[in-house]
């Protein structure tokens, strides 16, 4: 049985499930930090970028482990 080199082996379409969740989470977190609309938007963008970056780092680490050690 040939092993799949990439972690995301099912379908890239599954990644689209991340988008609405990220928008909702970052907007709600932004809204619970500030009262003024521009500050809410700015905080939301910052949260979205931070969480996405964090997830990307985790993905790269797992992919590295998968390619090298498995």
């Amino acid at each position: 049985m040939e092993s799949e080199p990439w972690i995301i082996s099912t379908s890239w379409l599954y990644l689209f499930l991340y988008l609405p969740l990220m928008i909702a989470v970052s907007m709600v977190i932004g809204a619970t930090r500030h009262e003024q609309t521009p500050l809410i938007i700015r905080q939301s963008l910052r949260t979205a970028v931070w969480v996405t970056s964090f997830m990307l780092v985790i993905y790269v680490v797992l992919q590295f482990v998968s390619l090298v050690f498995v």
Binding site: T10, Y14, L17, P20, L21, I23, A24, V25, M27, V28, I29, A31, T32, R33, H34, E35, Q36, T37, L39, I40, Q43
Partner: protein, 237 residues
């Protein structure tokens, strides 16, 4: 207004109400509540600020939370309702749209099966504890579970827990990963609403203070970081 002031017969109270008016917006109801308090001055001024609602500082401006307990309850029942009651309309819209859409997307990808309450041998559905954070939208599941527990037939199949483990297995099989994704979405929606409830109760959570360098002797501390501090003294009074 002049008549109300005359009724109050208390210059201190009238001055307090005048000071609170900008943060009250159309504060007619609040003003009527303050009008009832016609006791001695010290108590009256205190009760007038309570009647006006709890005022906290948010982004450097006073924010009137009105009746914070009622607002928190409304925020739990329907996401955004508590903020609407507090006249924080933009935040009400943000909470309602984001939280409800997350919940609905979760239900959609799981085929309307991922929200149910069950605490028996078939499954201990601890996820429902988090899903219930969204309030009213998750309540049918509790009602259906209560009917089953009372040996009554559930109403329809909406939010009904699986009777057997093989039923649960078939749900997983039919929806592929949709069941787990839906469970995740609805759990997160409930958790987000709990954040919204806290926001309705106590106002926005101040962001963490940046690590400021210790000021040198004779130098003022960073004025920006000083602005970030949001005193909550007004709410405690």
């Amino acid at each position: 207004m002049a008549l109300a002031e005359a009724d109050l017969g208390d210059i201190g109270l009238a001055a307090t109400i005048e000071a609170l008016k900008p943060s009250l917006g159309r504060g007619c109801t609040r003003f009527k509540m303050a009008k009832k308090n016609t006791k001695p001055q010290a108590k009256t001024v205190q009760s007038s600020s309570a009647a006006a609602g709890d005022v906290v500082m948010a982004d450097g401006e006073p924010l009137n939370l009105r009746n914070r307990y009622l607002a928190a309850f409304l925020a739990w029942i329907i996401p955004g309702a508590g903020h609407y009651y507090q006249r924080r309309y933009f935040k009400a819209a943000v909470f309602f749209v984001c939280i409800i859409s997350s919940f609905l997307i979760g239900m959609l990808v799981a085929g309307n099966r991922c929200v149910y309450a069950s605490w028996n041998q078939t499954e201990v559905r601890w996820q429902y504890v988090l899903q219930a954070g969204i309030g009213l939208p998750a309540m049918p599941a509790a009602y259906q579970a209560w009917r089953i527990r009372s040996n009554e037939d559930p109403i329809g199949t909406f939010m009904v827990a699986p009777r057997h483990t093989w039923t649960l297995d078939s749900w997983h099989r039919e929806t592929a990963s949709g069941f787990d994704m839906g469970t995740l979405y609805t759990m997160i929606a409930g958790l987000l609403n709990i954040l919204a409830v806290f926001d309705a109760y106590a106002g926005p959570l101040p962001p963490p203070l940046p690590k400021s360098k210790s000021p040198k002797k004779g130098e003022d501390p960073d004025p920006e970081s000083a602005d970030v501090k949001q005193p909550d003294a007004a709410s405690s009074s």
